[in-house]
């Protein structure tokens, strides 16, 4: 996993609640057996006016001028501002892949669906939870201030507004540690291989029917 580097970036506001994984990356793109190439199809049905299929040249497709990410002022955004229950629905990891590969490094929202949450952290995508009222205020500031940027400092667990206001956020210490150091979770777990073997041997004895 890539290390998460604290940085500041342009903010794009996606003002909808319950944004689901089918909207983030529609199913036809799930047929791929690769880990990359999902960025151009992030929010495909909202972003383009035509219907997208794998293998299309996305640069030639008509963009939906009403979709917020297509607005020139949000081009190159690195921070996605969203509403509650972001990422609900399926377990497809293609959702965080698409968000990262589009160029976002972090999402800020009041809440996220559980599976999406853990999938994102495994791919170096930082999800920041802030209170709904604060998120609401950030929406207003983003919408009313062209070029609105936020600075994210993961070590300090803070988001700093252009006005210099510092907003603290909570994060699980283990997730933070993995993100900052770009750790390979499988490698970490395998350091405990002996414990897993001991557990397994005991389980086999106690519940042999699980091993037939």
């Amino acid at each position: 996993m890539e290390k998460f580097v604290s940085r500041e970036g342009l903010v794009a506001p996606l003002d909808r609640s319950n944004v689901d994984t089918d909207a983030i990356i529609p199913k036809q793109f799930l047929k791929s057996i690769k880990r990359v190439g999902y960025g151009p199809n992030l929010f495909d049905e909202w972003r383009y006016l035509d219907h997208g299929e794998p293998g299309m040249d996305n640069s030639k497709r008509p963009l939906n001028p009403d979709f917020i990410l297509n607005a020139p002022r949000y081009r190159g955004a690195q921070i996605l501002l969203a509403r509650e229950n972001f990422g609900c629905g399926s377990s497809r990891e293609h959702a965080p892949w698409a968000i990262s590969q589009y160029g976002f490094q972090a999402v800020i929202a009041p809440s996220y669906a559980d599976i999406f949450f853990s999938n994102s952290f495994k791919n170096g995508l930082l999800l920041i939870k802030l209170e709904a009222q604060i998120v609401d205020r950030l929406f207003k500031e983003t919408q009313s201030t062209p070029g609105y940027r936020l600075a994210i400092d993961l070590q300090e667990q803070s988001v700093t507004t252009p006005g210099g206001e510092v907003i603290k956020f909570e994060i699980d210490p283990f997730l933070k540690h993995c993100l900052i150091n770009g750790l390979d979770e499988i490698g970490l777990t395998l350091e405990h291989a002996e414990e897993i073997r001991v557990y397994e041997a005991q389980r086999k004895k106690q519940q042999p029917w699980l091993y037939i």
């Binding site: 049905e45 609900c88 809440s111 559980d114 283990f174 499988i186 897993i196 557990y199 397994e200």
Partner: protein
């Protein structure tokens, strides 16, 4: 001794190690694998030079991408075909306890074949790269969906890194009315607590109404737990659980069965067990449900009406309702029974088991699909369900009424194959998600129970199944 919940027991029995901050390594007994979320995991495993930890924990099938007709012609879509072939190659290279590939007689939706093969047993941890893995909790399992990185993690280590969830009890007491099903309980609960209502929680369904449900119905209920945001849904083990499991191909037998049963009987919440949250529902109050919007929480009863955004005080919610009605092509205050449909889909891991098909067949027997319905599909959940239904003559009932009887798979639940809605088409569907574009771009999904879907097929619009009784 402290009273423990079912979730407490399942959690405690799977902890390999736990750090002071609660981060735990938990052991995974059963790993279900399908073609869509596994290729990148196997690739990662290979790139790192690792091997699966316990091949015998793996049960695999192809279901999401596979066609539901003309099986002899293979998979026409080259991208889907490559994905299915990649699964075949990965299982061939690394192995599995059981593999039900495309066109195998026991192929089917992963959440249907797990229980019916006995791959899902009480007390297990069951994972799959699919959110509806919560289905298996019906057997007193801790079952949950994971992403592709976690699929790779389980392949390589047989464990997952996670923290214990909060616990929620959804207690349904009393008797369900005629024509009211587990699907209606699920939708009613989601309508009540919202699609994020159980986020961060492991949910146990309790109460006399739940104990009275068949295993099929419990699977429907646990299946939909994820639509309430739950990490897992579960039901305690009882006689019905044991009766279902007994004799399944991968279930223990003889002395081993007796030993297993002795343990499985302990898989219930102790009297006085504490839950972080409790939601209660009176079974008698649950009516047949129909969704009207683009999220499972946008649901009402069959005798209800499409909501009026003007009546909503909260601006964000009002905007959400307006957007949903726009997408769904519905006018505020329309009675649900006046909404005409174009297609009907009976299937998916929520409602494609034999009981679901029996319930739907009972409604359509001797009737015809309405003239305005362009396509009515029945897609059995597995090869086994299909053969069972055919042996009972259910396929004939459906075909005589004008339904198409298909091969098993996920089909129009998510439309990764040819089974899709065209833009603007409205569908009565027994699946689990009515998100925008879920069943096809621009498609409009109304979630209902199998009997309600069958009744809508015959009438051409939604009807109250209770009036047919």
């Amino acid at each position: 001794m402290q009273a423990l919940s079912l979730y407490d027991k399942l959690w405690a029995s799977h902890v390999v190690r736990q750090d002071a901050d609660g981060t735990a390594l938990i052991y995974i007994d059963r790993h279900l694998v399908h073609e869509v979320t596994s290729p990148q995991a196997y690739e990662g495993l290979k790139l790192a030079g690792r091997k699966p930890w316990r091949v015998q924990s793996i049960v695999a099938t192809a279901d999401h991408n596979t066609p539901t007709k003309d099986w002899d012609q293979g998979i026409k879509d080259p991208i889907a075909r490559l994905q299915v072939e990649t699964l075949n190659a990965n299982i061939k290279e690394y192995g599995a306890l059981r593999f039900y590939p495309f066109r195998d007689e026991n192929q089917g939706i992963v959440h249907v074949i797990g229980p019916e093969s006995g791959a899902t047993l009480p007390g297990m941890t069951v994972v799959c790269g699919d959110s509806h893995t919560s289905t298996h909790g019906a057997f007193g399992c801790l079952a949950f969906g994971i992403g592709t990185s976690e699929v790779e993690h389980v392949l390589a280590t047989q464990c997952l890194v996670t923290k214990k969830a909060r616990s929620m009890q959804v207690c349904v007491e009393g008797e369900l009315g005629a024509g009211v099903t587990a699907k209606d309980i699920a939708l009613a609960v989601i309508g009540k607590i919202g699609t994020a209502g159980a986020t961060g929680h492991a949910v146990e369904f309790t109460g006399s109404a739940i104990r009275a449900l068949s295993m099929e119905a419990r699977m429907t209920l646990c299946n939909m737990a994820i639509e309430a945001g739950a990490r897992a849904g579960m039901v305690a083990v009882d006689d019905a659980t044991l009766a279902y499991v007994k004799g399944r191909p991968l279930a223990p037998s003889g002395a081993m069965w007796d030993a297993a049963v002795k343990y499985w009987r302990t898989l219930t919440s102790d009297a006085g067990a504490k839950f972080d949250t409790t939601v209660t529902l009176a079974a008698a109050d649950v009516k047949p449900q129909v969704t009207w919007g683009t999220s499972p929480q946008m649901v009402t009863t069959i005798d209800g009406r499409v909501p009026d955004p003007q009546q909503e005080a909260d601006a964000v919610k009002r905007e959400g309702i307006t957007r949903a009605l726009n997408y769904m092509g519905l006018k505020a205050n329309t009675p649900m029974t006046e909404i005409a449909i174009d297609k009907v889909f009976i299937g998916s891991c929520t409602n494609s088991r034999i009981e679901d098909l029996r319930a739907a067949a009972a409604v359509v027997r001797g009737k015809k699909v309405a003239a305005n319905v362009k396509l009515a599909l029945v897609v059995p959940g597995s090869g086994l369900v299909k053969r069972q239904a055919e042996s009972e003559g259910l396929d004939q009932v459906f075909v005589a009424a004008g339904f198409e009887w298909r091969e098993p798979g996920c089909s129009m639940c998510l439309g990764m194959n040819d089974d899709q809605l065209a833009p603007g088409e409205r569908c009565a569907s027994t699946s689990n998600r009515n998100f925008e574009g879920r069943q096809g771009p621009g498609g409009r999904t109304h979630l209902v129970s199998p009997a309600m879907a069958a009744a809508a097929a015959v009438a051409g619009h939604f009807v109250d199944v209770r009036e047919l009784h």
